[in-house]
């Protein structure tokens, strides 16, 4: 049992990282918690399944879902958030309102029935280790998460674009002064965040499946991860995801009566003693 729990903690952490990396990026640069993030996750899942039903390969569908979400995310930033620039409260409320709209639109388009996402070919079945079984697909999710994490790290830390994003995160007005197109960065990062969420939506599909309400279930998880790990920090999002993965798995077994607060308690403690999060820097 403990072995299964340990492996599962890491795989859940992997999925949570895919979910929260985009959230963390957007929060870091634009300073707003994007409350549409759970909806992007769900919408990406629904779109991905629609592509799958058109006969597409799972991975192509996932990438295409990510691409579609990037376009949608970019449009949301350009057309809706941009006019409210500088007014964080209004922007947050807008993302909240948008999440309701997406939820009801999805209900109309994809009805309320839960959608089953088939496991991609070649990854069905279980990996057997002595008498223990573990689904191969979940192990693959860890691989995907690690790949994305490395890719994002390279992007942020090693490229010129990454340097501009970091400059924008640290001090947006000053970055603007030295000629960095911060507004364009906002659109780009928002699109990237939406794409990551949409990608995660389909990747998570084979074990979460997709159903109305998935959006509001995933959003708090992204929030917890980012608050725990620290805003502005991809490493924080990664570590936060793994911590939440372990807390969820072991917490439910060891302290079943605390099932409801097990995820929030550490967040509360971190907020009390280190409000910027484990890996966050002071603004």
């Amino acid at each position: 049992m403990w072995f299964i729990l340990t492996v599962n903690s890491i795989t859940l952490g992997g999925l949570l990282f895919l979910l929260s990396a985009g959230f963390s990026l957007i929060f870091g640069l634009m300073r707003i918690p994007n409350l549409t993030h759970g909806s992007f996750f769900m919408l990406g899942g629904y779109l991905g399944v629609t592509y799958l039903n058109c006969g597409m390969n799972f991975w192509v569908a996932a990438l295409l879902a990510a691409l579609t979400m990037a376009v949608i995310g970019g449009l949301v930033e350009r057309l809706l958030l941009r006019p409210l620039a500088g007014n964080a409260m209004q922007q947050v409320l807008l993302t909240l309102g948008l999440s309701f709209i997406i939820a009801d639109l999805s209900l109309t388009i994809w009805t309320g029935d839960p959608v089953r996402v088939p496991t991609p070919g070649g990854l069905e079945g279980t990996a057997d280790f002595l008498s223990l079984h573990f689904p191969i697909y979940r192990l693959a999710v860890v691989g995907i998460a690690v790949t994305i994490a490395v890719g994002l790290w390279l992007l942020i830390d090693k490229t010129r674009l990454g340097a501009m994003i970091r400059a924008g995160v640290d001090d947006a007005p000053m970055a603007r002064v030295v000629g960095i197109p911060v507004s364009a960065l906002f659109s780009l990062v928002f699109a990237l965040g939406a794409a990551l969420a949409g990608f995660a939506g389909l990747i998570g599909g084979p074990y979460l499946s997709i159903y109305p309400g998935l959006d509001s279930e995933m959003l708090p998880l992204a929030l917890i991860v980012v608050i725990l790990g620290g805003i502005n920090s991809l490493l924080g999002a990664l570590v936060g995801s793994i911590i939440i993965g372990f807390l969820f798995n072991f917490g439910q077994v060891l302290f079943p009566n605390l099932a409801y607060m097990i995820l929030f308690l550490p967040m509360l403690i971190v907020l009390l003693f280190r409000p910027q999060g484990l890996f966050g820097r002071n603004a």
């Binding site: 049992m1 299964i4 729990l5 599962n8 859940l12 939820a103 009801d104 209900l107 009805t111 309320g112 029935d113 839960p114 959608v115 089953r116 088939p118 279980t126 057997d128 079984h133 573990f134 689904p135 697909y137 084979p206 074990y207 979460l208 499946s209 159903y211 109305p212 309400g213 509001s216 279930e217 995933m218 998880l221 969820f248 798995n249 072991f250 439910q252 077994v253 079943p256 099932a259 409801y260």
Partner: protein, 419 residues
């Protein structure tokens, strides 16, 4: 005068803006208000629980199409109110239906918590209601004389499921896993009682929160038992069964479940992981009687999916109304006469088979144990055994049953829990 008008216009406007009342289900043009029977429908059109509301629509539509929107020659107007699935929403919409729309009776609401929230109001307003909310005490310790229930009480189908598990499947030791809210508690309570009264032992009770992204930590705790009873609702059975099968537990430890876990409408969301799972329900799409064949064909034709229990109960609800109107001679004005007639309904050929109501207003009908099989590439429920005339009290004497507390997370106490 103008004041009155503008106030009325405002009220209508606000109702529209909130999408509060829309008559999209009424096929009858509202020409003769006096002639039409006005049915208020408390349903869920938005939010995460909307799937149940969509199914209710399918059932009602099937009936109204079949009967050309009339019941006993009288036109039917259905006034739809969206509660959003929340108790507060149900309370205000119920009041709106009764006081502003002057409905003759109410169908719905869909969930138990909503029904509990409006029960007192219904009693005061003296309006007949046919509900789909399963909470045990609505027809037991907190009776509502204005209510009948066409769906089973939460534990009603779990009693025979436990009987079947102990006697036919020969399970001696079982674990239960269920959503941690009233419907889940009541289901497990009923299952535990009958299973242990038949010599079985429930050695583990697991209560994952209603919102649980991954069931693996719970499934990892299931071992050394003969079978598992699950009481999940909504989309949770889909998630749970997938994980249960993928973690390799299913091939060693078979699953049985409450009606929501093997509902016919859910089958299209399930795959091989659900094969062989046995569940108990008071409705099943595979029941081969004429009425049900007609009903299933109608829903398949219009919606391309098998009707689930909510659709069937919505349909049956209108059948009951039809039968009651035969008794009253088409009159709905005297509410006492109407509810008495409804309670007296007994049908032989319905999509649910035979049923009648007990003196508490709860359905007494056949419970089907069905197994999920694959036929022609699609998942279907196969009836394995039928328990006839199952009441909410199972085989227990009524007074003894009612003298005990209502089923809950800790009642009946599980004496055989192990760690």
């Amino acid at each position: 005068m103008t004041k009155m008008l503008s106030r009325r216009a405002f009220l209508q406007g606000s109702a529209l803006a909130g999408a509060a009342i829309s008559a999209d289900l009424s096929f009858a043009p509202a020409i003769a208000q006096t002639g039409a029977i006005r049915i208020g429908l408390l349903t869920i059109k938005s939010g995460p629980l909307a799937q149940a509301g969509l199914q209710v629509d399918q059932g009602l539509t099937a009936f109204l199409k079949e009967k050309a929107s009339t019941i006993n020659g009288r036109k039917v107007d259905i006034i739809v109110a969206d509660t959003g699935g929340t108790p507060a929403g149900a309370r205000s919409k119920a009041q709106e239906l009764v006081e502003r729309e002057k409905v003759d009776l109410i169908l719905g609401p869909v969930t138990a918590t909503e029904m509990l929230a409006i029960s007192d109001y219904i009693r005061r307003a003296r309006i007949p209601i046919i509900t789909l909310g399963g909470a045990e005490d609505l027809t037991q310790r907190h009776l509502n004389p204005w209510l009948i229930r066409t769906c089973p009480s939460s534990a009603q189908t779990c009693h025979p499921m436990a009987d079947f598990s102990a006697k036919e499947l020969g399970f001696k030791r079982m674990a239960t896993i269920s959503d941690d809210f009233a419907f889940g508690h009541e289901q497990v309570g009923g299952f535990l009682r009958v299973f242990e009264d038949n010599g079985g032992k429930i050695v583990r009770k697991l209560w994952p929160p209603l919102i649980t992204p991954d069931y693996t930590p719970y499934i990892a705790q299931i071992q050394n038992v003969d079978g598992v009873f699950m009481g999940f609702t909504g989309s949770n059975p889909v998630k749970f069964m997938r994980a249960y099968s993928e973690l390799g537990v299913k091939k060693d430890i078979p699953l049985v479940g409450g009606w929501t876990t093997g509902d016919d409408a859910l089958l299209k969301s399930l795959g091989d992981e659900a094969l062989g799972v046995q569940t108990a329900s008071i409705y099943t799409a595979s029941l081969p009687n004429d009425s049900n064949k007609r009903f299933v064909a109608a829903v398949l034709k219009d919606y391309e999916n098998l009707p689930g229990a909510y659709a069937a109960w919505a349909y049956v609800t209108l059948l009951c109304l039809e039968a009651a109107l035969k008794t009253t001679g088409g009159d709905v004005s005297d509410k006492q006469v109407l509810i008495d007639a409804l309670r007296g309904v007994s049908l032989q050929d319905s999509p649910c088979g035979n049923f009648h109501f007990d003196k508490y207003g709860n359905i007494v009908g056949d419970v089907f144990i069905r197994r999920i099989d694959r036929k022609d590439g699609k998942l279907v429920n196969t009836i394995v055994k039928t328990y006839p005339n199952v009441s909410q009290f199972w085989t227990y004497p009524e007074d003894q049953f009612l003298a005990q507390p209502v089923y809950s997370r800790d009642f009946p106490p599980a004496k055989n829990l192990e760690n």
